[in-house]
Each structure stands twice: as C-alpha cells, then as structure tokens.
C-alpha cells in the first residue's frame, strides 16, 4: 500500500475531509483504499514519497500548537489544521493539500457504492 506506514494518519485525514467516511464499514474502507491504491499505482515513486512526507507533516505539525499529533486531536481541531494548510500563504503547501484532498475525494466519491447511496442515475454499464 503506497500510504504505508501512515494508515492511521490517512484515515484521520480522510474523515476530516469527508466526515461521512468515518461511518464506513471495513468493506467500504477497503473499497476507498482500493480506489486510491489503483490511482497511485502508476505514479512516480517521488510523488508517493511526497505524499507520505505531507501526511507526516500533518501528523506532527499540530504538536507545536496543540501539544499533540493530528490523530489525537478532536474533529474541530483537525478541521482547523487542514484549513490552515488549505489557506497557507505558501502556494506549494496549498497545492500539496489540494493534491491530498483530490486523492481522498477520488477514494470516497469514486466508489461505485457512493452513487447507489446517493440515488444517482447514471446510464453506465456498472
């Protein structure tokens, strides 16, 4: 899994970006990870490394302000941390968060089961 060894951090980030993801059962979570894994499969190793580093920064930067890592923050504090990254004055930080957010959204909303749960009508062959 490209996100190893950061699955707990990633799960906390996912649930902050898409709050409903916290309600996914084990199968739903596996589907989400499967989508992300497929998207990352052919991407350069450097990108995967950057992703892991970004997740590491998300986990440990809050220690400075909150005295504890991201995974031990409550939902409101986690939202504040990610909002700070999204609005950061350094464009590279904003772009990094945008990339992570895109991956998370692909994982959650790219699952065929999401369409069913949202009662969407699409005339595809699925």
């Amino acid at each position: 899994m490209p996100l190893d060894p950061a699955p707990a951090i990633f799960r906390a980030v996912v649930s902050t970006i898409v709050p409903e993801a916290g309600e996914l059962d084990a199968n739903g979570w596996q589907d989400l990870l499967g989508v992300i894994e497929a998207l990352l499969r052919d991407r350069p190793e450097s990108l995967k490394r950057q992703l892991r580093m970004f997740l590491g920064a998300i986990q440990w930067l809050p220690v400075i302000r909150y005295g504890r890592p991201f995974t031990r923050l409550n939902a409101a504090a986690r939202t504040r941390v990610l909002t700070h990254l999204q609005n950061d004055r350094i464009q590279k930080v904003r772009v990094g968060f945008w990339g992570l957010r895109t991956l998370v959204l692909a994982g959650y909303y790219g699952r065929p089961t999401w369409r069913t749960s949202a009662a969407l009508e699409f005339h595809d062959a699925s």
Binding site: I17, N87, Q91, Y109, D124, A125
Partner: protein, 503 residues
C-alpha cells in the same frame, strides 16, 4: 505480426480533431499509391469497452487520467490520449470561429470567411445540429430559465450527435457511439481509403524527415486493442510530417527534437480557458445526470468581462474535486447531488510572455502557467453571473469557489456584488481546471513572431507541418474543435496542392 515497412510518404502524429481531419483529407492520395500513416499514442477501444465508469474511463481515455498538472500544480488540464484524441471525450459542442477573434489574430493570409466555410463543411460532416427541446434535460432548461429572467442572451450549442440516448457520459466517451468525433467519422473513412493507424505509438523525437517512435505493449488487464505493431522502438522515414498531437504535446515534441533553437516562439502563446464549476442546490431533485450535459451557453460577456458560461454536469468524483473546501459544507453539496444544477465558468485568458509549453529534464511536456489578472477577473465576474442565474432558476443555495464563505444562501442573493468585492483567488486553493489547450506553435509570418505560416508549415522546414490547436496565435474564446478541423483542412489542402514537389 509482420514487421512493417517503415518508410511512408506522409506521417500524421495524433488522431484527434487535427490528425483525424488531415488523415481524411489526405487519404484520397492513397489511391495514387502514397503511403500514409497516423501515429497515435493512445489505444483504440472497442465499442463495448466504453463503460461510463468514472475513474476507469478517465484513466483509460485521458492523459494522466485527466489530471495533467501545470508545473506549479495549481491547475489540471484535461485532454484525450486515445484513437480519436479529445474528440472522444468532449461534449460535441460545435462552434464556428468568431469573426472578431480571427480578425484579432491578424494572421496574414488567414481570413474568417475561409475558416468559416471549412468549419461548416466539417459541422455538416459530423451532423452538428441543435438538439430538439424534448431531449434537453432540466439542468439545461433551468439555465435557460435563469438567463431569461435576467435578460441574458442565452444561446444553444450545435452538437455533433447522432442517435443520442442521453447517457450524460460524453466526457467519458459515449457508450452509445452517438458522438461524431474523428474516431467515428474521419478516421474510419481515412482507413477505408488506405491510411494506416498505428496506436500505442508515441513519437519520441523528429529529425530531418525521420521520426523516432516507441510502440508500447498493452498492459495486462488494460482496455483497448494492442498496437498493430510489435512493441519496441522504431525509426520511420517520411517525406512529409504533420504534427497534430495537441497544443501541449506538439510544442513539446518539437522542443524535445531540438527545434527551439531556430524557433524562438516555440511553446509560447499558450492559453487554455481556465475554468471552474458553480453549483446551485434546488429544493427538489432535478434531471441532471442523464441527458446531454452541455446544451446552452452565454457569451455576451466575453469582450468586456472575459468569461463565458456553459451548462455542464459532471460525475461524482470530478464534481467533488471541483467544489472548493472540504468537510461538512462540501459534503452537504455532494449529498444534494440529485438536486444540483451546474454551470461552467470559463475565463478567456490571453497569450502573454510567461504562459508556455516547455519540457522537463526527461523531455516530458511541462506547462508553465500563471493566472493573469484578466483571467482571475473573468472567473470572479463569471461566478457572480452564474450565481445570479442559479438563484433566478430557483436554487436555494449556491457554491462559489472564489467566495470567502463558499456557500451562499438564497437570502444573500442580493449581496452578490458585495461578495464579489471580497472574493479571493488563491492558486492551489480554488479548484481550477481546463480542457481547451491552445497555442504554442502559433501562425504568423516569420520565426520572430511565430512558429508556422498560415498553412501550418513550420518556418524553414518545408516538409514539416502543424495542424492542431497549437496553431492558434491567441485564445479562440470558444470551444475549439471545429476551428481545429477547419485549420487542419486548410493545412491538408496545402499539402495536397504541393505534394508532388514535396515528395
């Protein structure tokens, strides 16, 4: 498989609106014994492989899955990489080139009348027409309703469709083969006349009447036919080469081939219509995800405010990615998906000294792009106009990516100008994407002002032509595929006229 004879009279690189057109227009030459090949980097799909599944088809049909990033990572550019190029993944909107734009391009020898007559020929060939009212869905009708209440001049797109089932899946490749792209019309005709199409074939570099190409194997489990050629590297000799790899890959190929030394404008003049979506939530479900997604537009603000509004409807992931922010406000709009009305805001950017196509250390295309003030203003003004339309159509709340608080309730509809005054556009925060890359090999008169002449011939290289959107000297300000076909038809005509001398 037999190893092919690697000498051709004419090689066309790319099979989209430009390459497909050139292939068709030159194909009668096969009857005179000429050998013509189209080299396409992407695969060819069987009809039953167009499943409409979002991530599966995006990964199969688009370069980088539709997520090709500018070098600063602040914008994605979507373009096709498949037999038929981007004509497989557009919505079929068929627009004549605007006279004022062609006049402003000011390319000696290129007239609007000539382009228009060529464009009309291809529109007829591709069955471009206005859809009947009874097949237009609610998402589009609400746009018309909102525009009329505001006295905006709403116009209907001609679309190149035949036998539409209303799947709403145009951007994932029509699963019903209704869209008349080059994969359906021009390329099959060219092949019947004797043109060879070699898929999964990437051109690495070009030299003096030669091409170095790499044919890729079909990956295990992947969609699409294998290439008709065995995987490996080849050298192809060709007396005439026509580049139609699109506004990103054509300049990149020329740069990779060392041609930037004599062509200082190569890669410059890049524009792309940066865009984002505006979403309005209605109190009741509307028909949005089925039916043709893009039937109407408003272009009355193009000259004064630099934006165009178009109806659109995207799939769940693309919609989620295109909404700004995250967390509860973002999820609320996504949960309301069956009640969403969407409008695409496109800014009319302009050719400048910075925005350009280059190559990275590995020779891959790299797009350097900054958001010009004119484009940012266009996006913000376009967002305000779109919000007015959404509220006029009955939306109870609107998502505006550039507003400080991205959710605007109907009660605040009268404060839109005030909201615009405090709007902020931070690259990397506002989700901007584009699907109309243009320029990079602009037409003109000499290497000091351009890369090609008005017939797409590269300055100083009589055997080398360009016939795609990279020829545009500046933004077209509308959906470009018909204009690309018109220019490609013009390039092909010049090649036919001079073929004896060139061979």
């Amino acid at each position: 498989m037999t190893r092919p004879n690697l000498t051709y009279d004419i090689v066309i690189v790319g099979s989209g609106a430009g390459g497909g057109t050139v292939a068709q227009e030159l194909s009668p030459l096969c009857n005179q014994g000429l050998r013509i090949a189209v080299l396409e980097k992407g695969p060819r799909f069987r009809d039953d492989e167009f499943t409409g599944r979002e991530l599966e088809m995006a990964g199969a049909l688009y370069e980088d899955g539709g997520g090709f990033l500018t070098t600063d990572g602040a914008m994605t550019i979507a373009f096709g990489c498949v037999y038929g190029g981007s004509t497989v993944v557009y919505t079929g909107t068929s627009m004549l080139p605007p006279e004022r734009v062609i006049r402003r391009w000011d390319v000696p020898g290129l007239t609007h009348a000539d382009l228009e007559s060529r464009a009309r020929k291809f529109m007829d060939e591709n069955n471009a027409h206005l859809l009947d009212d009874d097949v237009i869905n609610q998402n589009n009708k609400l746009f018309v309703e909102g525009c009329r209440k505001l006295h905006y001049e709403v116009k209907q797109f001609p679309v190149n469709i035949k036998g539409c089932h209303g799947s709403g899946l145009c951007n994932l490749g029509c699963p019903n083969q209704a869209k008349q792209g080059t994969d359906r019309v021009q390329l099959p005709r060219a092949e019947r006349n004797g043109v060879e199409v070699i898929t999964r074939c990437q051109v690495l570099t070009i030299g003096e009447k030669t091409l170095a190409v790499r044919v890729a194997a079909k990956p295990a489990g992947a969609k699409g036919d294998p290439s008709p050629w065995e995987p490996g590297d080849y050298r192809i000799d060709a007396k005439i080469i026509v580049l139609c790899a699109g506004a990103i890959n054509t300049p990149a190929l020329l740069l990779r081939s060392g041609m930037g030394r004599n062509l200082p404008r190569l890669g410059h003049g890049f524009t792309t219509h940066p865009a984002f979506i505006m979403v309005g939530e209605h109190p009741r479900p509307i028909v949005n995800s089925v039916g043709h997604p893009k039937s109407y537009y408003v272009d009355q603000f193009t000259e004064a405010e630099h934006f165009v509004l178009e109806t659109c409807m995207y799939f769940p992931f693309i919609t989620a990615k295109s909404l700004a922010g995250f967390g509860a406000p973002h999820s609320a709009f996504m949960r309301a998906f069956p009640r969403l009305q969407m409008i695409l805001v496109l800014a009319c950017d302009e050719a400048d000294d910075f925005n350009r196509v280059a190559i990275d250390k590995a020779g891959r295309a790299a797009v350097h792009y900054h958001f010009q003030d004119v484009a940012i203003r266009g996006l913000i003004r376009g967002a305000i106009a779109a919000a007015k339309i959404l509220f006029a159509a009955g939306a109870v709340r609107v998502h505006m990516p550039v507003a400080r608080d991205t959710t605007i309730e109907a009660g605040d509809a009268t404060r839109l100008e005030e909201i615009a005054a405090t709007a902020e556009f931070q690259p990397g925060k506002v989700p901007v994407s584009a699907a109309h890359p243009q320029g990079g090999c602009g037409m003109g008169t000499n290497p000091g002002d351009s890369v090609t002449d008005s017939y797409g011939r590269v300055h100083g290289l009589p055997w080398l032509f360009v016939a795609d959107a990279s020829l545009f000297p500046n933004s077209l300000e509308i959906n470009p595929y018909v204009t690309i076909m018109a220019l490609a038809g013009r390039v092909a005509q010049r090649i036919r006229e001079e073929v004896s001398a060139l061979l």
